[in-house]
Symmetry: C2
């Protein structure tokens, strides 16, 4: 009565060379007997098995002559996930219903989830059992402040357990994180060499941009190799005390990488997912002491100091549940930091600070040293109140720059960031004083210009709030890798001239 | 400085013959200059323009030789949406950011949305600006009871405005709806001919199954053509006073069809979306008087009479806002209705009732006549308390059956439902009394057997709660169109033997 899938005639695998990013897609002929025998139709979720591996994929039905009879086509991610070669035998069957979606539904209906529930969801996501719509439902259900601190703790635990962890066998491993939303606020590549030059261990893994024009990993990638295996990372840290690596290649909290892809498409903030994302990565990477920077400003990610205080409390409460030492610093989030917005442009700011050049963006330097100093105070390396001075000292005497170069060298070599071939200057049509700068719209402009996919793309901003500007002065320059994106960014900017507000009420005074 | 997309060299359209259901997918070579000039990458959302049409599609990048230089491939839905022919010139550009997603985010963050917000979201969904993940976020954000009655009213209005509406120029146009969750509860095809035989106007449009093994449209499709254009529907109703059509082909509330595709994948209930879905379809179809059937049972969609009363109140409140006469009946939802679960099996039950055959499922007959009678009382056609008798009379004297045949004939002819080639009997291993029947698990079994995609698939249930059963008596038969699905349903059933609970504590009495 019962036939197992193995008894069916297998299909022959064919690599179609279709890049579907992270979605696993398979292609079957409409007249394929297995469609009929299993009742599959377009967009069915199908369990695909080779002799050694299996995965769940989404089915596309081919009505043309793309495939011969008996063939099954694979998109690139599906091909790679199953480690296939052409003509490998493939069997198809129905995947079991995804039981953990009942927990997602429970969350939508306002119930509280326990650690078993979060572990089931996270494991299913990591195993590829969720299509993007399911991940979107989970992300949305956990959106805003829909998770309690206990739930966030459970989610964090689940995300750690679903991936690899690193144990450094050291009593003190430091890390820092900025909740973002402030364009150009790229302090990490400055803080890491300062702290490493002080002898601390800081195995820093960073993410790529989620909804911003650049993540620390995007910026560092314009300066050195950031795709380190865990073994390579261990070597770099053993040599230099620190690294500046992309976290995504290390399977530290791999669920986070999958969640972030959908969060990016939705652009939905979730306090719980934010905290779980940050802390799961830190704990998996072996951190014992973590400093969190929360910029506060009306157009930053966190808009009020009340919201920042609440987020800080949640961070502290969850960290305590997880046995992690954690401190939070609130910082000024009223305007971008430094000049550059976009991977390479931010890298040039970082180089100016580390090299103590005369054009150093002073705001970026001060923020980085304040945070590095706070960490030195937090672990008792210096007395309270002495951190900033120590950090400035290590930066200004060139130790930090030497350490930065040594880290880049250990990671595969230092290289010069790219420069964009297409540029467009926006000039001031009046004289006056800069009243406000809209972080969100500037970030949007940089993204439309191509950042972070084009590392050389972005915005170079030449003014700060309170600065006096004169007619025809350049306010900002848009950088792009191609004409299409340059146009798109310019159009957006021209539709949003309120991005930089100039008060020219007192023109007569100038 | 600015180049419009029209100045670029167009690509040549190629039909790849890939069925991606409702998702619009385009395929570009990795070395295509427009990818570079516009900064597109795999899974980018792209505005695709032919000389006459445009649509937003998701990009897949082709690294093999599927496409020649200068070609752009289209999936079937994308090809059809743009009304293309091979080699038509195609231009690509960035779609504008989907502004209405900010309303979806606002809903996730707990804000109340107004009609403008809902209209923006619904229009963007109907215009294809949302990828499935965006729709999933909207569905999830509106899940459970997250919409107020005013919000549901706004959403309903928005859904009506985004599609066609029908005006019958009649003071009285009746309709009914069952909120579902009760397998086999297929009363509509019995109620419609009873009320039409009484001279009422009932232009019934029904949906296909969302999460159940059969929708009324799926069942009716096994008996006649249900894909009517609005003109055809008008002809049928003018001739016969009623129709039994699929609503999806009429663009009555087209947003609903798109929302339902994602809701089906997520299986997330939303009170607001349920009410808006039902009422938008009814009002767009021109109904003035609507009866809502809410079955209540521990394994039905609505589990308690409190939840049913709350849902009824929301239905009434929103209907009042919309100027619609509406009544709600709560009914017994403790077990399936009739014998059949699945499109064709339910059709056979309906025929037994309409033809007054000796094997008529009495429960289905009584429910249908109770609802038809309630409508006759609601509109004052009979005095209070006289509705059921009138409905039974029209059914038992054959008028309803003649009317049903006439409607089917007007829709394109009556045909006999298919019969499944593969069956499997589940027998009772003990004697005793049926204690409970799990609607959800039975529905799941019918779906695993292939319903509703295979219309002949499903479950035939031979017992009712309280019925005495003896050893080796057949409890149910699984019907399937192929061996794969039959196996899958049998396996599920064997893992969930508690689907039908038998009390054999008093075996000695039998």
């Amino acid at each position: 009565m019962h036939f197992t899938p193995e008894r069916m005639t297998p299909l022959k695998a064919l690599r179609l060379g279709i890049d579907t990013h992270h979605e696993l897609i398979i292609y079957l002929r409409a007249d394929c007997p297995v469609c009929r025998s299993e009742g599959f139709s377009a967009m069915s979720r199908v369990l695909v098995s080779s002799e050694e591996h299996h995965a769940i994929a989404t089915l596309n039905i081919v009505t043309g002559d793309l495939l011969k009879k008996g063939q099954i086509g694979f998109s690139e991610p599906a091909w790679q996930r199953l480690y296939l070669q052409n003509d490998n035998p493939i069997w198809l069957s129905h995947p079991k219903p995804v039981q953990s979606m009942s927990y997602v539904r429970a969350k939508v209906y306002g119930h509280t989830l326990d650690e078993i529930a979060f572990q089931s969801i996270i494991n299913d996501i990591v195993d590829g059992r969720y299509a993007d719509v399911h991940v979107a439902a989970f992300v949305t259900a956990c959106g805003d402040k829909n998770l309690s601190n206990d739930e966030i703790t459970s989610l964090t635990h689940a995300m750690i357990k679903a991936g690899s962890t690193i144990d450094w066998n050291l009593p003190l491993v430091v890390d820092k994180h900025c909740v973002g939303g402030l364009p150009g606020n790229r302090t990490t590549p400055i803080i890491v060499p300062i702290l490493a030059a002080c002898g601390l261990t800081m195995p820093k893994t960073s993410s790529r941009a989620i909804t911003s024009p650049a993540g620390t990993a995007d910026t560092m990638e314009t300066l050195t190799n950031v795709c380190l295996s865990q073994d390579m990372m261990r070597n770099v840290v053993n040599q230099q005390g620190a690294c500046l690596a992309w976290g995504g290649s290390m399977r530290l909290s791999p669920a986070d990488d999958l969640l972030i892809q959908v969060e990016r498409a939705l652009d939905i903030d979730s306090e719980g997912q934010l905290i779980a994302s940050v802390l799961s990565k830190k704990i998996a990477a072996g951190a014992t002491h973590v400093l969190i920077d929360i910029p506060v400003g009306t157009t930053a990610k966190i808009r009020t100091s009340e919201a920042a205080e609440q987020l800080a409390e949640s961070f502290k409460s969850v960290a305590k549940n997880l046995g992690l030492s954690l401190q939070v610093l609130l910082s000024d989030g009223s305007q971008p930091v430094g000049k550059g917005i976009g991977p390479a442009l931010e890298a040039y700011d970082i180089l100016a600070v580390l090299q103590n050049r005369p054009d150093t963006p002073q705001d970026l330097k001060k923020r980085a040293c304040t945070l590095a100093g706070a960490m030195l105070e937090m672990i008792g390396y210096v007395k309270p109140g002495k951190g900033l001075a120590k950090a400035l000292h290590v930066l200004e005497n060139g130790e930090a720059w030497r350490k930065f170069q040594a880290i880049c060298h250990a990671q595969g070599g230092f290289h010069t960031p790219p420069i964009a071939p297409y540029r467009y200057n926006i000039v001031c049509h009046t004289s006056g004083t800069v009243l406000s700068i809209n972080n969100r719209k500037l970030a949007q402009t940089a993204k439309l210009a191509g950042a972070p996919a084009d590392p050389e793309a972005g915005v170079e901003l030449f003014v700060k709030i309170g600065q006096k500007v004169s007619i025809n002065q350049i306010l900002l320059t848009i950088h792009a890798a191609n004409i299409g994106e340059l146009n798109y960014a310019v159009e957006f900017l021209e539709e949003h001239k309120d991005m930089i507000l100039i008060d020219h009420g007192e023109e007569t005074c100038h």
